[in-house]
């Protein structure tokens, strides 16, 4: 049953560019990128209960790091660029995460919200590096001799990275580390009493979350090809929160599904900009009131399976 589901899923994902129109290949890449962010955010929020409204800021840092590296050093291969984007963002995550250890709940939410605003202001002010409001055009990235100029080639890169990061997240969550993170979510004091190093694990969650989002930012630069500060406003952070709420807190499969739902919805509402926040707000309220575990737990209710956490 599971093997069949996984197999058909893989066939759909790999065959997608050959069946779907070009625009939908681009959209699928965006879904995969958002899924990476959602997983990163879920590792932070769903696993250690630290709510962040600043992930658009992390995404921006990753995207700008990758873009600037591609422009300044065109010979650097793409995997290195993505890794660098992830590491730069993780470093920022560490710098923000350590002082934020003292904060919890809504204080952390507000601090990260402020962080998101500060990142956008910083991009605007560092215009010698980021070209400020004019935006930054990202040249096509290269892997060895190949330049990634088609939507399909970029789609495969994004999907490969996403698959690797999903596997990594499953490994993190199913091991000792994942159990420690879950213990932190359930009760910080009980976790601490059981020998979980609270500060270390909370910081770890922050850094890993930032790393995921930074890599996603690198992919965003690659796929979208143009960066400007207004693509990373606070509403993008809200979208990410909506993804994990709709998908299910503490679930990796849920993060992917939430990303798919919200990204598709965002795209189909593109022609109705003024109704978009109305719909999103309603979705947030309805999910919180009537579907607190998100799509992931709704699926569990339909088909209970043992030992399936992801």
């Amino acid at each position: 049953m599971r093997a069949a589901a996984l197999g058909s899923g893989a066939v759909v994902v790999l065959g997608w560019p050959w069946a779907a129109p070009r625009y939908f290949v681009f959209l699928a890449s965006l879904i995969a990128i958002n899924a990476i962010v959602a997983i990163g955010l879920n590792l932070l929020t769903g696993y250690t209960n630290q709510l962040s409204f600043g992930h658009a800021g992390f995404l921006a840092i990753g995207a700008y790091a990758a873009a600037i590296l591609t422009i300044r050093a065109p010979l650097v291969p793409l995997p290195v660029t993505l890794l660098a984007a992830g590491l730069v963002t993780a470093a920022v995550g560490l710098a923000l995460g350590v002082p934020c250890l003292r904060l919890e709940g809504l204080y952390l939410a507000m601090a990260t919200l402020a962080f998101g605003f500060v990142v956008v202001e910083a991009i605007l002010n560092l215009d010698w590096l980021t070209r400020g409001n004019d935006g930054l055009r990202v040249p096509a990235a290269r892997i060895g001799p190949w330049a990634l100029t088609t939507d399909t080639s970029r789609y495969y890169v994004v999907v490969t990275v996403a698959a690797l990061l999903i596997l990594a997240a499953r490994n993190i969550t199913r091991t000792r580390t994942g159990r420690a993170l879950l213990a932190v979510r359930e009760s910080e004091i009980a976790a601490q009493a059981s020998g979980v190093h609270l500060a270390a694990y909370k910081t770890l969650a922050f850094v890993v979350s930032a790393f995921y989002t930074g890599v996603a930012g690198g992919l965003f630069a690659l796929v979208v090809g143009f960066l400007s500060p207004d693509s990373f406003d606070v509403f993008l952070s809200v979208d990410f929160v909506a993804m994990i709420i709709v998908g299910g807190l503490g679930s990796i499969l849920g993060s992917v599904m939430g990303a798919a739902v919200i990204t598709t919805l965002n795209d189909s509402l593109a022609g109705f900009q003024s109704y978009r926040p109305l719909v999103f707000g309603a979705i947030l309220i309805v999910s919180m009131l009537f579907m607190p575990g998100g799509i992931a737990s709704a699926l569990h209710k339909i088909q209970p399976r043992q030992g399936d956490r992801a």
Partner: protein, 298 residues
């Protein structure tokens, strides 16, 4: 001084007074956040949007009925109270037993919906809003200050005193303070905690509506004006979240800081000041300027 000519005392006084005026608005915003927080232990993310909607309703009364400004103020306060009551009874009450996380997300959803609804009803344009106060600068000693600044400060202080009296001397105020201290004990004493929830939402929204009508002439009326709530939050944190006198002082400090900062720092940093203040205070002194670190009970 960082750059430019030295500032005269008169000019400095002007900057400080207008800082205190914006600060009073932040203080009112902070107070409305704190009122709800104390009763329900949750943050209302939609506070700014409720302010915006009620100010728009007041403005509509001005336009349609050619009503005097005072009537518009009353209409705005009434609309705010009604909106808060309906939202609290229909949506928030169902989630109140849940974690603060859930309510935070729900009010976030509300803020998106309210802003969007305002855009659909009144467009996303900016509208001028009449002021209670004249525009001719008043001379106070050598300094010249805008009457709007003094008016805003005066009106806000009056409202704060009224709130203080309400919390100190009325039955409702005592009930609200009791619920803030210990909800279970308050319930055992026969206080209807649910009524306190409703009352807090209504009171907070009413305070917000007054703040909206006071600030709209200065920043223009628009669907974006709800963002002032973020500064209100920073103000409340500055003063120690949950403390009402703290919220007032925090608002004033933030307003003055925000107006002074561009004189000493690069001008482009002005927009980041509230956020930098918020991050700094949260990291350095999460309990607020004069706060104590709260101990957690298991």
């Amino acid at each position: 001084m960082g750059e430019g000519a030295p500032l005269t005392t008169a000019a400095l006084a002007h900057v400080v007074v207008s800082g205190l005026a914006t600060g009073s608005i932040y203080a009112l915003m902070a107070l409305s956040l704190v009122i709800i927080y104390n009763a329900t232990r949750t943050l209302n993310f939609a506070q700014g949007e409720m302010l915006m909607i009620s100010t728009f309703v007041g403005w509509t009364a001005l336009q349609l009925l050619r009503a005097p400004l005072l009537v518009a103020l009353l209409v705005a306060v009434g609309a705010a109270a009604l909106l808060a009551w309906v939202l609290e009874r229909t949506i928030i009450r169902h989630a109140i037993s849940a974690t603060h996380f859930d309510v935070l997300i729900i009010t976030l959803g509300l803020s998106l919906m309210l802003r969007s609804a305002a855009g659909l009803l009144w467009t996303h344009d900016e509208f001028p809003f009449p002021s209670f106060f004249g525009s001719r600068p008043l001379g106070v000693g050598a300094a010249r200050v805008a009457p709007a600044s003094l008016g805003i400060i005066g009106a806000s202080l009056a409202l704060m005193l009224a709130l203080g009296a309400l919390f100190r001397w009325t039955r409702l105020g005592r009930a609200m303070r009791a619920v803030a201290q210990n909800q279970r004990a308050a319930r055992l004493m026969g206080i209807s905690v649910e009524r306190v929830y409703s009352a807090s939402w209504i009171l907070a929204a009413a305070v917000g509506a007054v703040a909206g009508v006071l600030i709209a002439p200065v920043v223009f009326l628009s669907s974006q004006m709800g963002l002032v709530a973020i500064n209100g939050f920073t103000a409340a944190v500055l003063g120690g979240f949950g403390s009402m006198p703290g919220a007032v002082v925090g608002g004033m400090v933030l307003g003055v800081l925000e107006n002074l900062a561009p004189l000493y720092l690069p001008a482009s940093i002005k927009h980041s000041v509230p956020f930098l203040v918020m991050i700094t205070i949260l990291i350095v002194r999460p309990g607020g300027l004069f706060g104590r670190v709260a101990t957690r009970k298991v």
